[in-house]
Amino acid sequence: MNKTINQKAWFFVIPVFVLVAFNAIIPLMTVVNYAFQETFGNNVFMWEGTRWFKQIMLSERFHASLGRQFLFTFIILFIQIPLGIAIALTMPKDGIGVPICLVLMSMPLLIPWNVVGAMWNIFALPDIGFLGHSLNALGFDYNFTQQIGDAWFTTILMDVWHWTSLVVLLSYAGLQSIQPAYYQAAEIDGASRWAVFTKIELPKMKKVLTIAILLRFMDSFMIYTEPFVLTGGGPGNATAFLSIDLVKMALGQFDLGPAAAMSLIYFFIVLLVCWVFYTLMMRNEGNQ
């Protein structure tokens, strides 16, 4: 087929271009502006080149928060994906149980982030919170405001509570789309429950799981509000993930240059990981 060349077609792209420019490119440009210059206010800028980037890349503080960030993301993915699949598998396939389960599962997703943080803060307080008080009453020495391990435990538990539902709902949708004939054929073929899971359910859920992992990776990698309200990044810097550290740097210390450079590096890490992940998944698809 020959494509007609018509330069007027560019007109149709303009609205999208303008929209993207205003909500993404132009704000990002101001960050780029700060990332390469130094300013003392009054709109006076001095060119600094790549100094801020070098500073961030070599800073131990950045390495530490990046490490914490990766650790946190991997832990929650490691828990939420299998747990989400497991819950989806046990959910009823038809009847009145379906809407009940779906509503229950959607609940945590509908709660605003800062409310989740506040809820868990109160819930986990060692002296008056239900969780904190109970754990201490059971003989555990639990105090998430003082002990690093407890702070991590609480943050991870909160994220699992808040977001596992998303994995559940996506997995459930994937499971529901499997034709009954597959299960019947497996029954005839004498497949074990495990074989049904690994040979039918998991492969059929692959697409939705790819989306689930991607979404959970991005969201958890950019997490800010919940740990900020829960622990404020503490004790010390123990739960200061990238976003929290970034805000501390930008608004707490007013180091706009390094903070802008860090934003860009942060952004590129997210972009890179998503791209690598997506490409790998799609290449796999092509092989089939």
Binding site: A181, Q184, A185, I188, G190, P203, Q288
Partner: protein
């Protein structure tokens, strides 16, 4: 290897049943002889698939028993019943190779590796899948996938029966023909009971020794293709099988005679009872001739199929189709038809009167 008996079998997908229509399958009594090639024929929604799933154990019937060689199997699962079943749409295990797909039912039954290999190669050869054995199954076309499904059903040699649920729906016509003859060939070779569900009469009549016709959840007739053609026991069999189907004309039963518009028609058997709400006379277009005296009709149209002519006529009791030889001259306007007595039947409430 087993004779399969269904006894007073009924199944409903509803919790409570108030009328006949609530049953997907009702009052089925049938023996499937060991080693027979059966076709289960009927229109969509008549309960064929339900009946198949009941035999294989995927569905537990609401009422009735299933026996294999006079042994109750109603409470056994599909694996214990040792049945192979092939579904309408291809079911393949995406992540496995073609070889692993075919070997899967055998592996699950812990059969030795070299036996599996021999069997898989044999089946792959038969289905012309040998060249793709090491490919991933998900990359194949719909044809190829359905061949894998077929192969998985055929790979176990010790099964009690192999059941096909409209397996060739997704296959293109040319290949359909080849695969069907392959199945027929295979049946002669391995001599297993095969039950082949279809709504296509050609498929049923070419595959099976015995055709079981289902209508609204009931088995209306079981017989050879010739039986079904020459002596339909139910009006449904009459018009479902044959092209064009049987002529069914409203008539009256009077003192043992069948009267069509006041004219006595000779039928295969005498009518003994008069107790019907619907009385019909049935005769296939193949068994009608033009004659000098008989049922007066007006010839409406003639279509020549090449092998023969199909003549549409209008009688006082309704339209009558007849088949004439391609060489025969067809009178125009008024004519008289006569029915061959031995192939003309009386039906009371849709069932044949014998």
């Amino acid at each position: 290897m087993a004779k399969i008996t269904l006894k007073d079998l009924s199944h409903s997908y509803l919790k409570t049943q108030s009328s006949d229509a609530d049953w997907a399958v009702r009052d089925v009594n049938i023996d499937w002889e060991d080693g027979g090639a059966y076709a289960l024929l009927g229109p969509s929604g008549c309960g064929k698939t339900t009946l198949l799933n009941i035999i294989s154990g995927l569905i537990n019937p609401t009422k009735g028993d299933i026996l294999f060689d006079d042994k109750m199997v109603s409470n056994l699962n599909p694996v214990e019943r040792n049945i192979a079943q092939i579904f309408q749409f291809p079911v393949i295990y995406d992540t496995m190779t073609v070889y692993d797909n075919l070997a899967f039912p055998l592996k699950n039954r812990k059969i030795e590796e070299d036996k599996i290999k021999a069997k898989v190669y044999e089946i792959a050869e038969m289905l012309e899948l040998s060249s793709t054995l090491n490919n991933r199954a998900s990359g194949l076309t719909a044809d190829g996938k359905q061949k894998i499904s077929l192969g998985r059903g055929l790979v176990r040699s010790d099964v009690n029966a192999i059941m096909f649920d409209e397996p060739l729906t997704v296959i293109d016509p040319h290949l359909k023909w080849i695969l069907r003859s392959k199945l027929k060939e295979l049946h002669q070779k391995i001599n297993r009971t095969m039950i082949y569900v279809t709504h296509d009469q050609t498929e049923a009549l070419t595959f099976a020794d015995q055709v079981v016709v289902m209508h609204e959840g009931q088995i209306v007739q079981t017989g050879t293709p010739v039986d079904l053609f020459e002596k339909p026991k139910h009006t449904f069999v009459g018009y479902f099988i044959g092209s064009p189907g049987m002529n069914l004309l409203p008539c009256e039963f009077k003192g043992g005679d069948v009267m069509l518009n006041g004219k006595k028609i000779e039928t295969h058997t005498k009518v003994k009872s008069n107790n019907f709400s619907k009385t019909e006379i049935g005769v296939r277009p193949e068994f009608i001739n033009f004659s000098s005296d008989g049922i007066p009709v007006k010839v409406l149209s003639v279509s020549n199929t090449g092998r023969h002519k199909i003549v549409d006529t209008q009688s006082q009791s309704g339209k009558i189709k007849m088949i004439a030889k391609a060489s025969e001259d067809i009178p125009s306007g008024s004519a008289f038809l006569s029915f061959k007595k031995e192939f003309t039947y009386a039906y009371g409430d849709d069932w044949i009167i014998e």
